[in-house]
Symmetry: C2
């Protein structure tokens, strides 16, 4: 089924006065949308929106498959070394399509490598992970467009040192794949000098919009996902997301409704809450996309990831009775196979009530009940209906949320494609490490009066 | 080292006018604190704060050890079945002390079972996990105070059915351990009838304050953590956290500073950002504690989990340049063992700059640089310094954040021990499942005009 956005519970008809009046919904907001779409088209004309062209880049899926398949023949584990936009898409694809879940287990499909992410330069994680892996049976995909991301470069050196201690140089070379800029940067230069395989990240593609490039297609191919279906899903959604008719455009509705609920209706916190463990990390991918694209010039919403039904026992109390400053975006999906709750004969009444219930029905009832309880408390929500979680549905979701982010950038009047706020921290890091090419910050000395250790 | 809270970067001296003036810091806030501490003491008198008594409950650690050690002799995997407060503490202990990390691997200490959590009634997760485990080598700890939590009861029946298909009834019985109310509830009744081992959750202990009871001590014992050190750390912190002198009281400072930064200084979003993969799930545990305790009567802050350095490539852009509505609480910790970045001879300049750098130094520099960049942007932050991540440090953190939550409840003038907002959703769930004992909600029919599927 195609992705559906149900937004009835954002309207005054359902929310008794606190939602968006129907006339605003399809008139004022349609004006906002038209302006945002015009801005998007101008940015596209300027060649800034490379992600829109990925679904029909000639030979993209083929080149990834041709590179990845022989490369992974001799390994049991694939390490992705990258951070932020270079890593989160891989995690979404793995969790949604790879049969692996963060909080549950590390099962892999028969014949497919386990997929691990090294994103944080935390020595305990790096030492712990490398101690578990066999360098002779591990492939490494280093992902950095510029090759200058400090965390990724440091982790790359650590992993490479670990490979080189155990293997001859030719085997090390064959185990590496760099996903990086097609022309410049340190990874590109190393690859050319040493004959390491590479795949390109197009020049007009930022990290957080790169999941449908080789950045995400390599891990997708590794877990055996259908790359053609992924790109076809994205292409289908692109048509819908760039259409002028707002009522049929889920990306346009998503962006304009969330924007107006923030700036006109006082709800700056946007909760994405999938009812599916497999889509849990989609909320983290969306958080990065939404926060880094829109949080600038003192503006921008705060995305908040959640997970149903788990967060009914954690965050829903706050959503229901805390300040009315949130919009809840549920994500509904169908499980691959349902599981019936087995009730033994003679079970007490508290358990007998599960007779005939499946886990899938329980989870679905919990989502609908939470939606309804929020509505009756006057709290707005909308639901993205994904259907079956397959490669096509992921392609639709990625493209929809990426187009929505660009439209939201136009609505918030910020540039959704830059991230100026992270540069100062990067410079300071190098300063603190004593590297001369950067100016160290003058950090004020600690004030012992404003620290609490043992009671004085 | 004892836990330290460095809050210099919340003051006007550092933040050029936007922070808390020093006179307010140690006078007005001290008045708030005195009132909150008096309320806490009254609630304690009423017997509502059972978590304060856990560190010196006679025989608590011994009874858990005596139960857990022989029980786990014959297994490779331990499944915790619980949700919310009955599950998150186990995840924190496992990630911090058990050598297992969500985003990295599933390594376990030699001779200790792998620890898995089943919290979500997601059929794909349940089927996937059970397909990976051997019922003959799996123990199951069901955690629910009342025994009436729908998700936990449904998952318990599924896991039990899976055990019963493979094992004789006596072996099934020996594989189960219920952590539940000492007297009432369906789990207690089943345990008594069938001779299943149990451990108690004291009557005056809510789920989100239960990590230092058998709820958290069972998984802690399973991974080989030092239960005595955990409880001793909590006892040390209890003394500091209940002390009248605000300047030496990290729980008091944490609660009063965050409260005033919200209600007097317009910063309702409280970010907890550990710079350590092992403490990533601490931020989720804190989120549940803070949100469910304080989010009521239209009041309460919104806790937002983050992870350093990863979120420097995701959320920090928003923290730095988005709306000034957040306080960032960093958590600094020492790794168990540092890892030097190996730089090969003749490396290009972009990599040679890592010579002599360790991952631990890099991570620490990134945290300090981000703190400083935030300060220069006028964004307030504070830092919890944990030192080495051991059982004692975890005990201190749990107790500090629990006491801070109760104090914050007094400051926000809400009852931090209830969760009325989640009841309607629970009732509606049963209604949707067609169970007569609950009233189904009247859900308005879907409005096709407010759904977007294929373009119309």
């Amino acid at each position: 089924m195609p992705l559906v956005l149900d937004y009835a519970n954002l309207t005054t008809e359902r929310l008794e006065g606190v939602g968006i009046p129907p006339d605003v919904l399809h008139h004022e907001i349609a004006d906002d949308f038209r302006r945002a779409l015009a801005t998007l088209r101008a940015w596209r004309e300027e060649g800034r929106l490379g992600f829109l062209d990925l679904p029909d880049t000639p030979g993209l899926a083929d080149s990834v498959r041709r590179t990845v398949e022989p490369w992974l023949d001799e390994v049991d584990d694939l390490l992705i070394v990258g951070i932020g936009g270079s890593a989160l898409g891989a995690v979404v694809l793995r969790d949604a399509l790879g049969g692996v879940r963060w909080n549950v287990s590390a099962r892999v499909r028969a014949g497919r490598p386990r997929l691990h992410l090294l994103d944080n330069p935390d020595p305990d994680s790096v030492a712990g992970l490398l101690a578990d892996l066999d360098p002779a049976r591990t492939a490494v995909n280093v992902v950095s467009k510029s090759g200058s991301t400090a965390e990724t470069m440091a982790l790359h050196l650590c992993v490479r040192g670990w490979l080189e201690e155990a293997l001859d140089p030719e085997t090390v070379r064959r185990r590496l794949l760099f996903t990086t800029d097609p022309k410049g940067g340190v990874l590109r230069a190393m690859a050319e000098r040493e004959g390491i395989a590479t795949l390109p990240i197009p020049a007009n593609l930022g990290g957080r919009f790169s999941v449908l490039s080789a950045v995400g297609l390599v891990p997708a191919a590794a877990i055996g996902a259908d790359l053609d279906a992924l790109l076809a899903g994205a292409a289908r959604m692109r048509t819908r997301a760039l259409a002028d008719d707002l009522r049929g455009n889920p990306a346009g509705l998503f962006a304009t409704l969330l924007h107006t609920l923030h700036v006109d209706h006082g709800r700056p916190i946007h909760v994405l809450m999938p009812y599916s463990d497999r889509l849990r990390s989609l909320a983290l991918w969306f958080q990065q996309l939404w926060a880094e694209s829109l949080g600038k010039e003192g503006r921008g919403p705060t995305p908040l990831p959640a997970l149903g039904a788990v967060d009914q026992h954690a965050q829903v109390q706050l959503f229901m009775e805390g300040p009315d400053d949130k919009v809840i975006l549920f994500v509904a999906a169908d499980p691959d196979a349902d599981v019936e709750v087995p009730v033994p004969p003679g079970a007490p009444a508290e358990l007998a009530c599960f007779r005939g219930v499946t886990l899938g029905r329980l989870l679905d009832a919990e989502r609908r009940a939470t939606t309804e309880a929020l509505r009756l408390s006057g709290r707005p929500s909308a639901t993205l209906e994904v259907g079956r979680i397959d490669a096509g549905a992921l392609g639709e979701l990625f493209m929809m949320l990426e187009v929505a982010t660009v439209l939201a950038g136009a609505l918030y009047d910020v540039d959704p494609l830059d991230q100026p706020g992270v540069e100062a921290g990067k410079r300071f890091t190098w300063g603190l490490l004593g590297r001369d090419s950067f100016v160290p910050p003058e950090i004020p000395p600690a004030d012992p009066a404003l620290r609490t250790g043992e009671p004085g």
